[in-house]
């Protein structure tokens, strides 16, 4: 059971809420309260747009515990348009459709259940191809 951890991380997981450095404007994700660029304190909340592109990816056939039901699935390093690189699952996409540089957008999806079918449902960000005409 990891209830306190899931609860603590909910904002960043549900909506890509990170931080912006008040000194050098660097956008920070995941939030860590200290700017990785200038080393100063950075606690100002910042909501990322969720837009980005695939920097690299791999497909998982042998999943870690808790994710077996979803194989095969693709995990990517996503370069957010504000700068940070995040690791996340891709969703609504077949492996053969994925390529480096592919534009993606954040969606909130079910990540896994904590333990068995009696456990907490854990939700968080994933990315999917931008599939709509411009609006």
């Amino acid at each position: 059971m990891e209830i306190p951890r899931h609860w603590r991380l909910r904002k960043q997981r549900y909506g890509l809420v990170g931080e912006v450095c008040p000194h050098c404007e660097a956008k920070i994700f995941p939030p860590r309260d200290v700017c990785p660029d200038c080393g100063k304190e950075a606690k100002t909340k910042f909501s990322f747009s969720g837009q980005g592109e695939v920097y690299s990816y791999t497909t998982i056939y042998n999943a870690p515990s808790g994710f077996e039901a979803n194989v095969p699935y693709t995990v990517a390093l996503v370069k957010l348009e504000e700068g940070p690189l995040v690791t996340a699952q891709l969703t609504d996409v077949a492996e053969e459709e994925v390529e480096i540089g592919m534009p993606v957008e954040m969606v909130t999806r079910r990540l896994h259940q904590d333990g068995d079918e009696r456990g907490l449902l854990v939700y968080g960000y994933k990315f999917r191809p931008i599939g709509f005409a411009a609006h």
């Binding site: 549900y14 039901a69 709509f132 609006h135």
Partner: protein, 356 residues
């Protein structure tokens, strides 16, 4: 509107729709696949295909996306919402609100109401009427009402052809800020046991033909007629009409019974391509209709929920529609974003294969 009839639901402060958003998952199961497995490929098909949620989707994740679309159209801050209400018969938890997760994800917490609504297929319009009351009484400026489902159908049952996934979110606010004013609502409810699912049961039971005349047709026609009569309107006063749509035949027939044309229901008749989205069905028909509506258009919407009841709404589109409808993906764009799956993939995605 003619003098107020006391059975009509009209808030003292006029209210309307400030923003709306739809969601449909991308996977589609053709009805021919269900017939192939269970009927030897024979027999009539109630729809062409239905939407199926992905392995990582449920009413929580789908509601979040629809709500984000509604916020994008409304252009209000989520912290200004005083209610986040989700109507569904597929809430992921038996005990623990869907609505708190949705409210947290869209940034509406903590100064808000949050609750899950249940009334079979009209849980979404129940939430909508309640939101009208909350805003109409001036307790709140804005309230979010969602109807969303990942409907259940027993393998091989008639419902398996149609039990789809999808729904819509509506932000209700003052009429002067709205893209469509809700002129009046009317609710018609009786104890009619046409369809139910007992606590702990995985799949619903239904009364087959009993779900038609005494249930669907009786409640929808009574609600729509009462609303039109009390508000002094006729089908000719509405450009568009949307009815709850468990299959293609029922809404087409009820429209004819009430005097609406095929053209009037066409934009909101989505069931042939996404299936019955239960608590989302009538109101996602409305999002598709709003997507193409023009200022001044009037829309009649009537939901139906088993058990049983109907909520009818008279809605008038305002000038704000032109600017706001393009701010988020349209319902037809979600429908066009389509990946076909076979029956085996479907049973895996819907958790019908047990691994232990």
């Amino acid at each position: 509107m003619t003098p107020k009839n006391e059975t009509l639901l009209i808030p003292s402060r006029p209210v309307g729709i400030i923003g709306y958003g739809a969601y449909v998952p991308r996977y589609r199961l053709p009805a021919t696949e269900v017939a192939r497995i269970w009927k030897g490929g024979k027999g009539g098909l109630p729809i062409k295909e239905k939407s199926v949620p992905g392995l990582d989707e449920d009413v929580v994740t789908m509601s979040i996306e629809a709500a984000r679309n509604a916020l994008a159209r409304a252009q209000i801050d989520a912290s200004d919402l005083r209610a986040v209400w989700v109507g569904s018969e597929s809430h992921p938890y038996a005990v623990k609100p869907t609505s708190t997760i949705v409210a947290e994800a869209i940034g509406a917490v903590p100064s808000t109401q949050a609750a899950d609504w249940e009334f079979a297929c009209k849980a979404g319009t129940e939430a909508l009427v309640a939101a009208m009351g909350l805003v109409g009484s001036e307790m709140a400026e804005y309230a979010l009402a969602i109807g969303m489902d990942t409907a259940q159908g027993r393998p091989g049952d008639a419902l398996e052809y149609t039990a789809g996934a999808g729904g819509a979110a509506y932000i209700i606010g003052p009429a002067e800020e709205s893209l469509a004013v809700i002129e009046a609502a009317y609710s018609y409810v009786t104890d009619t046991p046409d369809f139910w699912r007992r606590a702990g049961a995985k799949y619903p039971e239904h009364g087959s033909r009993f779900t038609g005349e005494p249930a669907y047709f009786e409640h929808i026609t009574q609600a729509a007629k009462a609303l039109m009569e009390a508000s002094g309107t006729t089908p000719a006063d509405y450009q568009w009409a949307v009815f709850h749509q468990p299959n293609t035949k029922f809404p087409t027939r009820v429209a004819k019974m009430l005097g609406f044309s095929k053209e009037q229901i066409e934009p909101g008749l989505l069931v042939p391509l996404i299936g019955n989205t239960y608590a989302g069905a009538a109101i996602i028909g409305l999002t598709a209709t709003l997507d193409i509506a023009r200022p001044g258009d009037r829309i009649l919407v009537t939901s139906f929920g088993s058990g049983a009841g109907s909520d009818a709404f008279s809605i008038r589109v305002t000038d704000a529609i032109s600017e706001r409808s393009g701010r988020a993906p349209k319902t037809q764009e979600y429908i066009a974003r389509r990946t076909e799956i076979d029956y085996a993939t479907y049973v895996r995605m819907r958790g019908k294969i047990t691994l232990k």
